[in-house]
Symmetry: D2
Subunit: 292 residues, 4 copies
């Protein structure tokens, strides 16, 4: 599978992501460099956490005729300019889709939604593999033409499974998505995998951290249930939040009903987060996120 798109509009489009300590002149430096190369800015979003010495975040979407021919020169020039300002930055060509591994267990709603959106051309990603600790969903996944790797996680032998995971992932993916993967990842795995990991949690975090959120929600008698997509960090359910949503519920719903209705929110929130991440619209600011 080729992880690029042929859309001519995308062919010459790129995104420049910049962040660092705010200082005067930085926007001029960036837009000046782009203008020197003849780029046309399609949209520009900028946020400063504090006008006085806060953190600076910027995402610029631009088109540049013959992008491939000049992209390396542009990269070199941006490096000279932005390193002077001490900025972290990334230049991403829109045609290079992020390569994604989706991890799942037995629930199919989040996984199928991602596969189906990719097939429809709605999600600018290239899902290159699905990894699961159960064999149940293999037929569904392979019907989409995507490889399915069954890696059982036996009690007390998590390390073996994670070693296999790393073999599969290393250099092959730009993002891991946990689509209701019911295993906790070790801190060691998170450190070694080297790419961001997005998880969908089936509650409106920070409410109902941990297991069984729908049962807890029923017991607490809440009138809304929700889901949260967040980056995975070593602290379970504590990573930076990318997207959240809720729906109304009443006394009529049982805990099972909540789970069923919550599944709709989960798949919606997860695909929103994956889309935002893969369009480079999510910037981390400590344990929070900027979503342009």
């Amino acid at each position: 599978m080729d992880s690029t798109v042929a859309d001519p509009q995308q062919e010459n489009t790129a995104r420049l992501i910049v962040q660092g300590t705010d200082c005067p002149g930085i926007v001029r430096a960036i837009t000046g460099t782009l203008a020197d190369f003849g780029a046309n800015i399609a949209s520009l979003d900028q946020h400063t956490s504090d006008p006085e010495g806060g953190r600076f975040f910027q995402r610029t979407l631009f088109s540049l005729p013959n992008l491939s021919a000049v992209v390396e020169d542009l990269r070199t020039r941006l490096g000279e300019v932005l390193n002077e300002f001490g900025m972290e930055w990334q230049l991403v060509e829109a045609k290079r889709l992020k390569r994604v591994a989706v991890f799942a267990s037995k629930s199919d709603h989040c996984l199928l939604d991602l596969l189906w959106r990719q097939r429809r051309g709605e999600l600018p990603v290239s899902i290159t593999m699905v990894v699961s600790n159960h064999p149940d969903l293999s037929d569904d996944v392979r019907a989409f033409g995507i490889p399915y790797f069954y890696v059982p996680v036996e009690k007390g032998r998590r390390e073996e499974a994670e070693a296999r995971h790393l073999e599969l992932l290393q250099d092959n993916v730009d993002l891991v998505v946990l689509a209701r993967y019911m295993q906790v990842l070790t801190e060691d795995f998170i450190n070694r995998v080297g790419v961001p990991i997005i998880n969908i949690h089936h509650s409106f975090l920070p409410a109902f951290i941990g297991a069984g959120p729908y049962r807890k929600a029923k017991e607490r008698g809440v009138k809304l249930i929700g889901a949260t997509a967040h980056y995975v960090t070593k602290d379970l359910d504590e990573g930076p939040i990318i997207a959240q949503d809720v729906i109304s519920v009443t006394h009529r719903e049982t805990a099972d009903d909540l789970q069923r209705r919550g599944a709709d929110v989960e798949r919606r929130v997860l695909s929103t987060a994956v889309e935002a991440h893969c369009e480079d619209r999510v910037l981390r600011d400590g344990n929070a996120t900027i979503v342009f």
Copy 2:
């Protein structure tokens, strides 16, 4: 102030609220009794927590020509029928508005919203007094023709203030509403006041229990903020939830912005909960609620 309404449609309308252990025949017994008196049922909501021996909850809204003349007979007859089934029940004439004391501190948004709605005839309540530990809002309240009692709560002398509160409330109100009243009530007060107390908490409970929820929400980087109206019990922020709502927020909002935008959700959720309670649409089921 007369706590009844002259609306002829309300004049002959009543609500019957019944709850207890479910058993066959109870609905027939209730509707049969009402039919014997010539009542016409306008709406009937019934919920059973479990069809097999669960808890039974019912709210029936009905009209009965010449209600006042027969209401005591009806009450006697319902008592005979319902006590046999071991049910708790209440018969409430729609024209008898619940008498409400609103407690506030310095924030005016929830308080004024309730006063406006009452004046506009939107809220079927009779707000008979406002009690505050600050004098700031007295002019605003008195402009509505409603008495304002300033009862300062000095450090270490909470009991004195609560004794004064009980004098004001006893036999004078059917409901206490804490409209951003920034004092914790003692368990003793809650027990002695003898009427339900509704509080508005400025977060989507059970997230961000305790003080400073908007600051905590900013720190945690949530993408939704909310408010929760609940009955007050001795366990702070743990009582049965009546209503909740949320709004979307982004990285742009400061903690102050969240507080300002959250205020809109707070007043909306609080008035929704007060309206539901005062129309006898909220039934308690352990630490949860049925809202018909």
Copy 3:
């Protein structure tokens, strides 16, 4: 495919739907009859359009041990009681799933969502066939083990296609769902098919009636787009509304983006409407609906 469920909880559960001109005593008559048979009411919803001689609507969910054995007797007895009151009524055993034909064209989002939900056990229906005027979606559908009938609709030969449709549907289905079926049905077909038809319209009706709603929405500059599920009547886009929902949009979205994002609302609204209909929670009141 067997259109019943083995769930023991469903086995003895039934729904009684009653509607007609309101008159005193009707609720007692219904609940009395159910009590005579030893039924236990799990939930009861009742609505009257006007307490004085309006229309009466009631849905009662009850369980009755050994339901199959007595259901015909119960039906006979209910007939005697309810016909006296001049009521229309229906007694439906929960285990008898409604048999559904889904009509689609080339868009797969609404169709696949219904198929997924049925497979997951979320939707209490038995989808017995998919009918399409295009062959494109046949593989996807047959992977679910459901027959796919390709019935092309040629210009000027609509009658032939509809004749074929009627052959397929007659006596085989209880409901037709138009899941983005891009053909207008003739009044003759609607009359002859003899079962309700639910359509999903890709706008917040009555805004943007007719074709191209997302393009019109973009031109009008609306800040919300939506979808509407409604029963089909001879007047295009004018039938009784069952469910509606919207999402926020901004100036950033192109008409294509609106269509893509709107697809999410469409499938959510359609499955909500189909679920409500198939649980007999939707009652028609002229050109409006009661959704219990």
Copy 4:
């Protein structure tokens, strides 16, 4: 009343709004000019309707030490730069609050909400007068210390009233807000008043254009009702939409209930639109708006 604020953070803050035909280099030109003056950009939003020769829209919020001293020089310099690109532009100091006249009739919910938000410091406006064709709300308004002008509009004598309106408004206001003002304005008035006019329409436009939207919504049986804030143009209910929102309703609500519940949406949508306009976040693009 002084229409400036003393907030030191606002003192040196300004907004630059630029729009016109997109062309390469424009962002560099703007940010370069600001950098030359030592401005620090707090946020920058830019949108292009089409990367190839579309319309360009930009809003830049920046701070500049000693703004007042240099603002005229900056204005001159920006004029030289931006006129060369053929751009329309505006430089607005944040401390200069827009002066607003609110028009109302008998309904108070939108009017009071605006007055109260201004008093709380939530709305960056200076409401300098309220104009009404009824005397009813004068006491409420004057309690806020704001002048109330009662200008009756007699049948067939609209011109006289509008002449009086123009006398009151000319040179005194920057914005007119119609807060449920139940009179149609003449095209002549709209042309002569010389400032934008924002109206709140009590439906989700373009559904239910014209009078009586809640009654129409009840008749059509919709499941959501809404409100729309838009700029007033000569075509009734057809002007550019600034903000919209909806709430769920059911068969239970009468047309009167819809009106009452809709009032909540109206005041929320209107204040959102007024706030966005007064922070110069709304740019017109033909009959649509960009809201940054």
